[in-house]
Symmetry: C2
Amino acid sequence: MSKLRVHNLSLSIEGYVAGPDQGPDQPLGVGGERLHEWAFATRTFRRQFGGPDGDEGLDDEFAARGEIGIGATIMGRNMFGPIRGPWEDESWTGWWGDEPPYRHPVFVLTHHARHSFAMEGGTTFHFVTGGIHDALEQASEAAGPDDVRLGGDAATVQQYLRAGLIDEMHLVITPVLLGSGERLFDNLDGGPVGYKCLGLVSSESVIHASFVRDIDA
Amino acid sequence: MSKLRVHNLSLSIEGYVAGPDQGPDQPLGVGGERLHEWAFATRTFRRQFGGPDGDEGLDDEFAARGEIGIGATIMGRNMFGPIRGPWEDESWTGWWGDEPPYRHPVFVLTHHARHSFAMEGGTTFHFVTGGIHDALEQASEAAGPDDVRLGGDAATVQQYLRAGLIDEMHLVITPVLLGSGERLFDNLDGGPVGYKCLGLVSSESVIHASFVRDIDA
């Protein structure tokens, strides 16, 4: 059975995963890119985007773990692109250029149906209108023996947390204060419950916190 | 000039400083005591409460810093006791027994006047009805050349953050999920702004995050 795993989800000290005033020109909100500076510095992220060099070490180790044993990705529509409402046409193919770094099937949660399409390098995008359980079923099947990675946005992660479907969750606490924005731990109706912290470790830049679903809870 | 310093303020991963359903029997809310387990284990905290032993190391080092160079404390009424509204009588003298660990003047913010009184060991309690600026003025005067420490509850810290009066803030992020409760970073009207992170480091138990007011901001 595929696990559903969250990796490298960066939070400000206040728990924001994006800054205020998100929009097409500012997909991460005001100051939101500061949450990801640690990741941009790693070898793993630089390689994904064709860049040279990049730091090794603890941050890179965590960044790389998010790629291992993953056979499919689920993401919210806001992570796929800035367009809201019905698709005007099929020209938007994601933020990642012609060769997205996924290289496996990606399932985008949306209320608006759209045909699947393939990109260079093995990434295919599929659009799921049947909700989070449907997306997980399709992604698990596509992943085969591998796991499914869950991306953002926050609302998508909240839906899966409320449903208790996330098996492993790696959060990155950054030394950033954003003032306002979109919180990860909101709209949870008293959840998440039933998770335990497996590890808490600091690099020079950030803290890595790893949670798993607690089967004893 | 005295600095106003926050120390050892413990948060859950979601940013809660207390659990849900706070009340006289449960001053920290459901599960809230889990936020302070790291502190209860340190030599500094154990000594304050007359206990033996306790751990040294990074957590203890941070716990001890909160005692150094402090000449007065300000706290909200909810940290002083569970009573709300007018004081029925003067029998409540705090949570800390006959010899509170402060050993200096403590200024309690309240809407309801009450006479000052002295406890064993040097702690005096004073009740300030004039608001946060008044309390800071009185505490600074009482502290002399030393600094003033700001205690909880969250609403009190928020008031001082909104007013930009906190000079240094040490937060402790714990690997605890509470589900709901009282958030530190709420009611800030887009703040805190103008703080920078001086350090972020994890022990085996918790994350220590140190902020100072950024005079360049």
